[in-house]
Point group: none
Chain length 224, copies 4
């Protein structure tokens, strides 16, 4: 755990640990702001008011530093989810908690997903671990018939993470803050019906209603 990212000396001292924390904190900021490629070690060092060499004293290189930042972030969010998940409440409440937590802690690091021989390898296992609680929850709810079983879980997963990240990115691009509580509630309110098992009769009725409505409008448009 220690010897992975430490350069030579093994700085287990309080000072060293503080340094490591500082570097990680600032690095997270910079990586989040700029993305992996556009982040420079110079920038990180400058923001901390230390020499670039110091950064390399504690981390083997830019890549490893980024991996650590990501790992730490995943650890944080995983811990938050595992600890706080209200397992005794309804699936819907659990989903809401999950979304809220993700929105609160989401780290924008597009390159992670990015192709090239980038950090891809690092992400996959973390992603799996991270997604596990949600997937478990969904699987259980599906087995108990609480949510629909006619679509692959991976699709459900994408339909939960996808909107969250889309919203956050949009907010970042527009430089607007996100009202996390409200957004979490809205997302779940929106998606919840999508997750329920399609009650056949109701679903059929709904569809019928929709189609007739549309047909009506089309006739209306032409008529006028």
């Amino acid at each position: 755990m220690d010897d992975i990212m430490v350069r030579r000396r093994v700085p287990a001292s309080a000072k060293a640990e503080q340094r490591i924390r500082d570097i990680l904190r600032v690095a997270r900021e910079v990586f989040a702001e700029m993305g992996y490629e556009r982040t420079t070690t110079t920038e990180i060092a400058q923001r901390l008011g230390i020499s670039e060499a110091t950064v390399f004293t504690y981390f083997h290189g830019k890549r490893e530093l980024c991996v650590r930042v990501i790992e730490d972030w995943y650890d944080e969010i995983i811990a938050a989810v595992e600890q706080g998940m209200p397992r005794d409440q309804s699936t819907k409440a659990q989903l809401e908690f999950f979304v809220r937590t993700h929105l609160r802690l989401f780290l924008v690091l597009s390159e992670g997903r990015a192709k090239g021989q980038g950090l891809g390898e690092v992400f996959v296992p973390l992603q799996r671990r991270y997604t596990a609680p949600l997937m478990d929850m969904l699987a259980r709810a599906r087995d108990s018939g609480e949510i629909r079983s006619d679509l692959p879980l991976s699709l459900l997963r994408s339909s939960i993470f996808g909107p969250m990240e889309h919203i956050l990115w949009d907010a970042i691009a527009r430089q607007r803050p996100v009202d996390i509580e409200r957004t979490a509630k809205d997302i779940v309110a929106l998606l919840w019906p999508a997750l329920l098992p399609p009650d056949l009769e109701v679903a059929a009725l709904r569809e019928f209603y929709g189609e007739v409505g549309a047909a009506l409008r089309r006739v209306g448009e032409r008529g006028e």
Copy 2:
């Protein structure tokens, strides 16, 4: 906006236009494969078998080239949507068409979204234009009561784009192909219930169904 591409585009001979198209085509490939930062002008020139300098004869620089690539891509997808959108079919069918088109033409250019003094500014208006047909459709459907009105349209939008992009990224990260037809169908099947108004009571639906049925029968009786 005006000073872009002024350089020597004045003559715009047939040959030159072909060059520009070639460069744009290959540049799109490379940007999509590698992302903005990891793309090199060398790579683009090499794939075309031309000199790097030639690229700079037609474009002011890497950045401008990328902006053009993105603009062209947006133009394409916007045109595809505007032309192909089956306006006379149901909202659901239109949504499906939209999703299918997006999945087919989606350009993965994570950095585009990226912040920093990147391409962010370029994306916002394009994104707006691109989203317009979908938003219009949603707005109309909401006004007619076909889809829910209790949540902001922007959320609905995110809940459509988000999953699509999440799925595509996942596929890219895992290097797996995407079955576009099937995925489009699944996404819509999943999300459709989420878009419907939540407050339509089954009773109301049944009543409506009954009335429409009766009306239909009456028409039938007369016609024959």
Copy 3:
């Protein structure tokens, strides 16, 4: 042959080839003066009055540049030996030629021998090719009984290369010039007795001398 060390463009033009030759020439000087590790690409560029980047335009890196320098040097000396070797003269004369050529063209590049994950791999095959003419000569002379067969050829080889290099190094360390003709003669004069078969008895030699002499006289008598 070309694409190995060329960076992007394939500069087969006269100008480019001149550049490559210039860089190789200067690089050889610097590597010889400083050794691999202490040589800097900056130094090479400065001596040529060009930018460092230009060096990297023509060679993939310091390492490859050094490999090229060494290969070229080996090629040169191998060609010189293969072309100039007086095969119709005595073994001793051939040896002298070999020593003279080596002394004239020897490149001091200690690190080549050096361990570490340096250039070692590059040297072995070249060394083998380079040594081949000498080893062949020695093997033939040994098979014909002209030189001793009681010691491994590799030892004989070391006893020829060793002194040469020792002398050259000494001269370099003391910054004194080497009188190549004289040194070559001396080395062979010294080593020749060491190479002869030790067991040829003087008696046998005398007898042989006598017989040959008699034979000669007989020929002479007939010829006149």
Copy 4:
């Protein structure tokens, strides 16, 4: 020469001297393994389990440390030669002893020889001191007519050191162990005849024999 090692060596407590010995021992290992440039002070400190700073407490720097290592090594080998040299035995036996000792204690430090503003200056006097016993021996043997006097002693010296080092380097490059006893015997067996005064008659006969043989072979080759 005087200002070297003055730093804090004044007290020279027992503990400190042990430290110095330890550092020198390990430094010798590392320098021998990696060469001067590729050796890092970090590596030396790590192998000793001490801090890098401690190394600098006892030595002014890497360079001085290396000089000390070399000096010590020379001292050792000089002492070994001076003490062990079997002065009452034959010159040949003494030579053998010398070779064996050198082979056993040889320190591979190519860079030492290296030029540049390297350690060159350090080597010359040490080399002189080190070579002294051998040179004396050779001088005496030459004066007594035991070995040849027609060639400069420096050449004889190179013809002894050269092969030894060539063999050792080869062994290191190929990562093979050296059978020291056997190699020492072989080297002397090979070189001894080279050192003997060329008995004029025998030498002339040998040469004659060699040339006639070669001539014969050449005729034979053409004839067939």
